[in-house]
Symmetry: C2
Subunit: 429 residues, 2 copies
């Protein structure tokens, strides 16, 4: 039995001595390894935690018994991961069935947790991953296995509920803003011959990333000129009208579209129907919204149009990441370990923004069961009346999240991104 | 009459006193404004040069008599352009007919040159633009109008002949390399669910940019794994075989393709036939090579594939530009003014790389008539035997060109890119 201190500084009792497991799940972000390092470095400070294991490729690593001994890594390696994009442990998009559908996976997971005496289960991911963490928590309780399960928020989509924002989002927003700013300058040089650019951002159901591109704009002529959100039903006629109006006013048009635009009936404007293209969570693959809109503009407005698709570059651009984002990703990793030690199983760490002009935040917790599979959309009042740009409120929300420069170790013109050195999977028990 | 010093320090006589005109043409680069600043700041040092004009949108600015008085700009504005992407004067893709086709444009241009007493004509651009500069030079000679015409190399494509490399290329190469490096880390986290990435670079006839992505690779598992060049006839069967082999060896495949891949008959694999899509120089618009290859991989290999298309971001990414590139872009701008004053009309400034291990360069000159419309391709020996990656020679060539960090003025998380302040077109004479 030992005493710990909870988030509010209250001392709590946690008697659990055992091993810790950490895993990364879903699409990586530039800062997902910050959270991993936060977990590892905080876990090293507590004597209740004996071994620190990493699961390869999220929950799959537990199902396949593919664990890595993270205490074997040099502390300099762990530190260098802090500015390395991609998920250092590997990630997955595996969906656990519910207990009532099949308890097979859960029995396997809990059996392995027992075998390795895993008592602290830290899971870094987005809303699908919080569903996984929640199900593991419920399974452990159902099977009377004492294990503290804590979720660590991570998603460029910024769509997790109960948290003010999500680690990963600020860096992606910053990268998209600089991309729009720079490509906008390029475009305006050539309005006479290439009048329109469409940049397609991630965001299948929410327009947080698309809206963040507005940070690039400081004057009317600056890109972007139009932004389209999944939250606002997309009308092709209105779109053509918008583009034509901006063109006549400015001479060129920089458009940002979220990949997941939906029509009035709520159907994706561009969803593929073939089999290869549905992921494990049943999300259809969205493709070609920018190419589709390019065709429309070229045929209807006769304006030459180019498309930019940064795709996973917006999830991995450590070279222009946000320092605030990095720090927060590390913070939620550390807080997750503290919460686990405080016996707060079944929660995700959240970031709460204090009111006021100066940006201040604190961490808190939300129940995994309430976070799992839910989505936070951009409030209607943060999108303009026309539905084609953000309001000042959106900008005030996002600007603090892109602040601060991250120093990365650049040698010979390019960074040295690291990898875990002892990546060998442990021999099965 | 005054004495000047030529490139080799020899004193030469140039009696021409008059005004200078500078213009930017073709696709901008991150560093095209460096060359502009080089021209302006060097021109300010010489008393033979009275007014310094900028033409709006390349040669179109002369044809339409749209000139800007660059002496009216504050020196701090000119300085701030040095780290601003896009063409500050505006660019164009206008093709001058040959004199035998029609002398109309030339008569107009020379008439305006006379009216404004333009005696130094500096034209920043790629091979199409050198064709323009060459034709203007020939027209001036034909019409007995004394004007020194000098071309300033600029192209991310790096395909100008007689120069070791082209300003703009190093920064684009560096940006693509970091993008591949970061996206590669992302991809390897998710090999289980998203096995293949195709990144599409610019380069319709040459693989300089595609090949530069190899800088991202330091070990076998690092991206990129395969690179395809316009210089090597593209075989779909060979491609499928290559991708399958890398997948079985590594578990995932990061592919870089140049937009302009051609089949065995020399036809573009993906050329659009519709009218909107041919530019003024008759180049067909190339589109969708990455999307096309994604379809092929998904249908034939059943591997989920994503595409990245940085498009004009690779031409404008000042935030991760190469310092060597910036310095050289400035240098060729200055040298162009010196050459013009030395009476060397009809030349383009070139960058000659000295032999030896340490990177050293000097400037020289090549005749515009020999540079115009020509293309330098990647030597066969710089591409591996399989035709799907570069050799060490390519890396040795490109690595020095991406060196050095550029400090940009970042405020509130994003740079302040500037514009010319006195952009007002002069009243017509």
């Amino acid at each position: 039995m030992r005493e710990n201190t909870d988030l509010k500084g209250k001392r709590v009792i946690s008697g659990l001595k055992g091993n810790c497991i950490v895993a990364q799940s879903g699409g990586p972000t530039a800062v997902i390894n910050q959270s991993l390092c936060g977990v590892i470095q905080e876990a090293q400070r507590h004597e209740e935690i004996e071994e620190i294991y990493g699961a390869r490729n999220g929950i799959l690593g537990l199902l396949k018994e593919e664990l890595i001994d993270l205490r074997k890594e040099k502390s300099s390696t762990i530190d260098s991961l802090r500015t390395t994009p991609g998920a250092a442990l590997g990630s997955c998009r595996y969906r656990l069935m519910s207990w009532s559908e099949s308890s097979k996976d859960f029995e396997k997971i809990i059996e392995i947790c027992k075998r390795y005496n895993l008592r602290y289960f830290l899971y870094i991911g987005g809303n699908d991953s919080m569903d996984t963490a929640n199900k593991v928590d419920e399974a452990a309780k159902r099977m009377n296995y004492q294990m503290e399960v804590i979720g660590i928020p991570k998603t460029v989509d910024n769509d997790l509920v109960f948290t003010g924002h999500c680690p990963g989002f600020g860096s992606a927003a910053k990268y998209l803003a600089i991309s729009v700013m720079e490509a906008g300058r390029h475009l305006e040089s050539l309005y006479d011959s290439e009048a329109v650019i469409i940049l397609e951002t991630l965001g299948r159901n929410t327009g947080w990333l698309a809206g963040s591109c507005a940070l690039a704009k400081r004057s009317e002529e600056d890109a972007p000129h139009l932004i389209y959100f999944p939250e606002i039903p997309f009308s092709l006629n209105k779109f053509i009208k918008d583009v034509g109006e901006v063109y006549h006013k400015i001479g060129g048009v920089f458009i940002v579209v979220s990949e997941g635009l939906r029509d009035e009936e709520g159907n994706y404007v561009c969803a593929r129907k073939d089999r290869v293209s549905t992921d494990a969570f049943g999300h259809p693959e969205l493709e070609g919204i920018s190419n589709y809109l390019k065709e429309v503009i070229e045929s209807q407005l006769k304006l030459k149009t180019r498309t930019i698709k940064p795709d996973i570059c917006q999830q991995s651009a450590m070279h222009f990441a946000s320092k605030v984002d990095l720090e927060e990703a590390y913070l939620v990793g550390r807080e997750a370990v503290k919460s686990a030690l405080g016996g707060k199983s079944g929660y995700m760490i959240t970031i709460i923004r204090e009111k006021g002009r100066v940006y201040k935040r604190r961490t808190s917790r939300a129940k995994l069961s309430l976070v799992a599979n839910m989505e936070k959309r951009v409030p209607r009042g943060w999108i303009n009346r026309e539905g084609n740009f953000v309001t000042r409120k959106f900008i005030e929300y996002v600007r603090p999240l892109i602040q601060g420069k991250v120093d990365i170790d650049v040698q010979m013109g390019l960074p040295y991104y690291s990898r875990l050195e002892k990546r060998k999977i442990l021999a099965k028990k």
